[in-house]
């Protein structure tokens, strides 16, 4: 349950750490989920489908990057538009390519390594240390952080802020797309309209709850994923847990975290700021 959340949340983390708000994760996941299913359908290979899903979402993220970075448009406006595209484009293409409303034909799933776990599950758990190492132990990663904390200072010492931001936003698209692909060709073997069902926003919540750190985000994503899994188990076994309460838990916790009751919430200082002088 946590795997798609981890991928998307790590994508959001990279984008926001570079200073670009990315509320478009939901739309990017949907594009990834659809493209992966369509890719697997046409190529016959779930691995190629995964690749196509990641690339398609990465390309979609370029729209976000152009609007936010080059045009200096409002990052939330652009994200909102992408989320609408994420619902509209797959629905439109489903109709066009497969002549169906709401659901794609069945495709091959990513093969399981062991009982139900495909290759993306361990990859998700490796992703957090990888992102941590990249951001805090490598030169490009530290430049990303500088771009996110104080873009003008970073610019003044020669960091090409916009280029790093482009890379991070595109990476967030790729990771969001993989998260979406996990849903369509990992979890099940078809795409349905709006199948992410708010996971892009939960991933965003995990990132906020994890205080914009890789391991915090990983923990929050696992926790939110577990909450979903518990809910499904509870329903299956008839344990009288209030379903509404459990579904609402990630959102409630995020609100609590944001209001500082748990600890201070510290987004990157340069979030939403532009580097170029006036």
């Amino acid at each position: 349950m946590a795997t798609p959340l981890i991928f998307a949340a790590m994508g959001g983390l990279l984008s926001e750490r570079s200073g670009v708000m990315n509320i478009a994760l939901e739309g990017l996941m949907l594009i990834g989920a659809f493209s992966a299913a369509a890719g697997a359908h046409y190529t016959g290979s779930p691995y190629l489908g995964l690749l196509i899903g990641a690339v398609a979402a990465g390309l979609t993220a370029i729209i976000h990057a152009v609007w936010c970075i080059t045009l200096r448009g409002d990052q939330i406006v652009a994200g909102t538009a992408l989320n609408l595209l994420g619902i509209g484009v797959p629905a439109f293409l489903l109709q066009r390519l497969f002549g169906t409303a709401g659901r794609s034909p069945a495709v091959d799933r990513l093969p399981s390594l062991t009982s139900g776990l495909n290759v993306l599950v361990p990859a998700a758990f490796l992703l957090a240390p990888l992102v941590f190492y990249f951001l805090f132990r490598t030169k490009p990663g530290l430049r990303v952080l500088a771009a996110g904390e104080h873009p003008r200072a970073a610019e003044s010492v020669g960091v090409a802020v916009d280029r790093y931001r482009y890379a991070c936003v595109i990476a967030s698209g790729v990771l969001g797309g993989i998260g979406g692909a996990f849903l369509s060709i990992g979890d099940v073997s078809f795409f349905t309209t709006n199948m992410t069902n708010g996971r892009g926003f939960i991933a965003l919540a995990a990132m906020v709850f994890g205080n914009w750190t890789p391991f915090g985000t990983l923990g929050a994503a696992i926790f939110f994923g577990a909450a979903q899994a518990v809910q499904i188990q509870a329903q299956a076994t008839g344990v009288p847990v209030s379903k509404e309460l459990i579904i609402a838990l990630p959102y409630l916790l995020t609100l609590v975290a944001l209001t500082g009751l748990v600890r201070n919430s510290t987004p990157p200082a340069g979030l939403g700021r532009h580097a170029a002088a006036d």
């Binding site: 729209i63 045009l71 448009g73 409002d74 538009a81 509209g88 944001l258």
Partner: protein, 377 residues
């Protein structure tokens, strides 16, 4: 005041035109005839009493939502939570409307609407308070509150829910006749909600541009620092702006429930609150612009089905068109800021906000408000 709308109108119309053009390319690429498709879309939206009625029906919640978004935006608050406020407002109105109080419409209907105002308003004020108190970013809190609202609705009218009606539906009981908004034209679905929406637009215009509170809202939105220097309380102002925003959204939910649906259904809103963001942006967060933008989007929605049956173009194209409109509006605004149209500049266009002062950038709409007007008290 209206004199400043010209350039904004040009760029909004331009954005819609660009979106339709790109949409035409999409239609061609998918093997259909854009002329046939758009003609069918237009007929389905304006060609007769029924299409016109359906356009107004579709526009009604969008006017309320767009106004709600705009009021918050003017105060520098990005209210993504219109959806949740609208849902809970609709729930409150639907539940009060379903009670057999034995009241005349003159009392029952206002009571139901008032319930929507209170509940929607409080749900909207909450992110305002959170931001004022602890700086919690309203975009994140309102997204979370949207999900909470959806869960509350699912619980309230779900199986064994406290507000659930007697039918086996996830819904309240039907609204009493004394609590419904009357239909306006014979059997057509257009209802008095559109009139309420127009009144709300007029009131919001008055509030924003003719009252001290409106002046404070705009001052805070344009520059939090300058407003503070002038002695305007930021936290108070954004909280009240969000309260008003939530009230407008709640009223939109109530109009939909009491005017169109006849009872509150769980998930009655197909995302009006999110389309409302587009409406606010395309309408340049001016009440008149919002009404026009809502009519355009309403027409797109009501014409979509006709387009699908006449031209075979799937009606999901309309959602893509709406996303394209948002992107085009953002690009036009950026073009203005980046001075791509040098020489055709309106006073204030292209003036940059201090880098990084997002609170200023969010509320800034230089094309409509060149500079803050003195309060007219």
């Amino acid at each position: 005041m209206l004199g400043g709308i010209g350039p904004a109108l040009v760029s909004s119309v331009g954005a819609i035109a660009v979106a339709l053009l790109v949409g035409a390319v999409v239609i061609v690429l998918s093997g259909d005839d854009p002329v046939v498709a758009y003609r069918a879309l237009f007929r389905g939206a304006f060609g007769g009493v029924r299409p016109l009625s359906e356009t107004l029906v579709a526009a009604t919640p969008l006017v309320f939502g767009g106004l709600a978004f705009s009021l918050a935006y003017r105060a520098g608050m990005f209210n993504i939570g219109v959806e949740g406020q609208l849902v809970l407002g609709g729930l409150a109105a639907g539940w009060i409307g379903a009670q057999a109080f034995g009241l005349p419409r003159l009392l029952h209907l206002p009571l139901a609407l008032a319930a929507a105002l209170v509940v929607g308003g409080l749900w909207g004020a909450l992110p305002g308070v959170l931001k004022a108190r602890s700086g919690a970013h309203e975009v994140i809190t309102t997204i979370m509150l949207n999900y909470l609202a959806a869960r509350i609705s699912a619980y309230a009218v779900g199986s064994n829910g406290p507000l659930k009606g007697s039918a086996s539906l996830p819904a309240t009981d039907p609204a009493q006749p004394s609590a419904t908004l009357p239909r306006l034209v014979g059997d057509e679905r257009v209802h008095a909600g559109i009139l309420l929406a127009l009144v709300a637009a007029g009131l919001l215009w008055y509030l924003l541009f003719r009252t001290t509170f409106g002046y404070r809202v705009r001052a805070v939105g344009l520059s939090r620092g300058a407003a503070a220097y002038a002695g305007i309380g930021w936290g108070r102002t954004i909280t009240f702006a969000m309260l008003g925003s939530g009230m407008l959204a709640g009223l939109g939910g109530a109009a939909e429930v009491l005017g169109l649906q006849g009872r509150y259904y769980d998930r009655f809103s197909p995302g009006y609150g999110f389309t409302a963001i587009a409406i606010g942006l395309v309408g340049r967060n001016h009440p008149a612009g919002v009404v026009l933008a809502a009519l355009v989007f309403g027409a797109l929605n009501s014409g979509a089905t006709a387009m699908q049956s006449a031209a075979g173009t799937s009606k999901e194209l309309v959602q893509i068109l709406q996303a394209l409109v948002i992107l085009a509006v953002a690009a036009f605004a950026a073009a203005g800021r980046l001075r791509l149209f040098a020489g055709r500049r309106v006073a204030g266009v292209g003036r940059r906000v201090p880098a990084g002062d997002r609170s200023a950038a969010v509320g800034m709409d230089p094309e409509i408000e060149a500079r803050p007007q003195p309060p007219k008290v």
